[in-house]
């Protein structure tokens, strides 16, 4: 498979909402290529007819009745908010208008 370029790394960083300095991009490009080179060994295996496995221990969907239960206290939850206002999380304006 083709190696990862600086441009790919910048694109992935944007998807992941991360920003890097120029030398960090070099380093991450190098590290990412190293790890991908290593994991490419999976290509040795023919998995054409193998089912993918997401959860190692099979469990049927865990469903429950939709009953009203006590939930967390609003004030306690908001205690960890970086910025809040009148019982809400406060963020900069998102919709211009």
């Amino acid at each position: 498979m083709m190696g990862v370029s600086r441009k790919d790394v910048q694109y992935v960083a944007e998807l992941a909402r991360l920003e890097f300095k120029s030398e960090e991009i070099d380093r991450f490009t190098h590290d990412l290529n190293n790890v991908l080179d290593y994991v490419n060994k999976l290509d040795e295996l023919d998995t054409e007819n193998i089912e993918p496995l997401a959860n190692p221990v099979h469990i049927e969907n865990a469903l429950r009745e939709d009953e009203l239960e006590e939930s967390l206290d609003r004030e306690e939850v908001l205690m960890n908010a970086p910025d809040k206002l009148h019982g809400y999380f406060k963020v900069p304006r998102i919709i211009e208008g």
Binding site: D8, R17, Y38, L42
Partner: protein, 488 residues
């Protein structure tokens, strides 16, 4: 007072009134104050509440009331397990100062058993690492040699127990993060079957691999702690609903007729010859106890680490998307808009290794690569699971080394992420398949502990405990304790 007490010994001392719980907890605190400046196991101490809890235990004992088997026993929790009112940081700048508004289910269970929480332990940031050098706050030192790592990512929990700063501790094991530090610190560390212990209130790293896992001094204690934390929990949709059992029933010492498999792929190149030799000596002890030992093959073992890094990084990139600087956690200053809050907060809040995993995970999940990497890895996961199912048709448990080497030097592997990842080569297959594994000390090399790994089928923890207990009845490795060299 003796500094390296097991939970069961503490129970005996309390019941016989040879010591009060206050004295016990105080001596534990004294030890932390004396040594933890060097070891660095704790991020947050819970002394005041611990002393109050100890007083209550003493009051019960003085009234002649019966106490539970881990009641009054001082323990530590890894700092990714939520504790209401007590900071829980994942050793990350991202969660510095975060105080959970609720307890994890395991926290609740241990409180209910009236074990005494001494503090929260250091770890690799967001549980990503094998040496504890990725903590955003401080490094943890191995109590056996403070120039060496304790292993990771649950290195703080391991070092706390190994240095006598707690009687037992919980960590979390995603690819070996409890078994490997248990091995490097000379402790018992058990990764239960996926779904046996509730993950509710555990801050997620890789949800299909994570499992909360105890460190104890011996296998007897392991049975007690597993009894306390195992069981169905409706709050975790991957919790497995099955009959609970009393693991103490496995403490018989009789393992005659048990079938033990030696998976040949776990003894190949990359494993230190002396480590192999220690494990083979342990195998000889098992043979002498009337077990039947033979070789088995798990042919897809060599692909485990590749599968692990794809799946765990993919899941991490998704799980860690929640850290956006809005609802909780670190928010960068000087942002221009909401997107800028996300980007700046994440870039400044996460350390390098976390970013590396998020980048790898985002890459393998991105359009055009999903099939080649993520789906491919999930398919190979099926093959690895099948290997274990085939092996367990023939044997009760498997035995292997836990870590390819004994504790390595601080700084030795930080420059090369891939060499660090190789530390988990014997432990990751167990998480991928979701079966259970326990590391136990089986020797010493240059005064550093060597660990062996016992591997069991789904929900066969009692077999690991049975075999481990028989081994410890006939050996003394678990009774060895380090003499801590005081550092700077």
């Amino acid at each position: 007072m003796e500094n390296f007490l097991t939970a069961h010994k503490i129970h005996d001392l309390l019941v016989k009134k040879q010591v009060t719980d206050k004295e016990l907890v105080d001596s534990c605190i004294e030890r932390i104050e004396k040594y933890d400046g060097t070891i660095g196991a704790y991020l947050n101490k819970n002394y005041e509440e611990a002393r109050k809890a100890a007083d209550k235990v003493d009051e019960k004992i003085s009234k002649g009331e019966e106490i539970g088997c881990i009641e009054g026993v001082p323990f530590a929790l890894k700092d990714n397990i939520c504790t209401k009112g007590i900071p829980t940081t994942c050793a990350s700048k991202m969660l510095e100062g975060f105080v959970p508004p609720y307890d994890a289910s395991v926290t609740e269970k241990l409180y209910k058993a009236r074990a005494v929480l001494i503090g929260k332990t250091n770890m690799d940031e967001f549980a990503m690492g094998s040496s504890n050098e990725n903590s955003a706050f401080k490094k943890v030192k191995n109590p056996w040699d403070i120039d060496r790592v304790p292993g990771g990512s649950s290195g703080g929990s391991a070092a706390a127990v190994a240095s006598g700063e707690a009687a037992f501790a919980l960590g979390t094991d995603t690819g070996g993060s409890v078994r490997q530090p248990a091995s490097l610190c000379g402790l018992a560390g058990l990764k239960p079957t996926y779904g046996l212990v509730s993950r509710y209130g555990l801050i997620a790293f890789a949800s299909s691999l994570d499992q909360i896992s105890p460190f104890t001094r011996d296998v007897h204690d392991m049975a007690l702690i597993l009894n306390a934390i195992a069981g169905y929990d409706a709050k975790d949709s991957t919790s497995y609903n099955r009959q609970t059992m009393d693991y103490r029933k496995a403490l018989t010492g009789d393992i005659r007729g048990m079938k033990i498999g030696i998976p040949v792929e776990y003894f190949k190149e990359g494993i230190d010859e002396k480590v192999k030799k220690s494990v083979f000596e342990a195998i000889d002890i098992f043979k002498s106890l009337g077990t039947e030992v033979f070789e088995v093959s798990l042919p897809h073992t060599e692909y485990s680490l590749a599968v692990y890094y794809i799946l765990s990084s993919a899941e991490a990139s998704s799980n860690l998307a929640r850290y956006d600087g809005i609802k909780y956690g670190y928010r960068a200053k000087d942002y221009t808009d909401a997107i800028d809050i996300y980007t700046k907060s994440r870039s400044k809040g996460f350390g390098d290794e976390v970013k590396r995993r998020i980048m790898l995970g985002t890459y393998v999940l991105s359009a055009g690569y999903y099939d080649a990497y993520y789906k491919k890895a999930m398919k190979v996961r099926s093959l690895i699971k099948q290997d274990f199912e085939d092996a367990f048709k023939k044997c009760d448990i498997l035995i292997s080394p836990t870590s390819p080497t004994t504790a390595f030097k601080i700084g030795e592997k930080t420059q090369n992420p891939l060499s660090m990842y190789m530390s988990d080569i014997c432990t990751v297959p167990i998480n991928i398949a979701g079966v259970c594994g326990m590391s136990l000390p089986c020797g010493f090399l240059n005064n550093l502990p060597v660990g062996m790994q016992l591997i069991g089928n789904y929900f066969d923890e009692y077999k690991l405990i049975k075999a481990g207990y028989a081994f410890q009845k006939n050996t003394n490795y678990h009774k060895m304790t380090p003499e801590i060299r005081e550092g700077e």
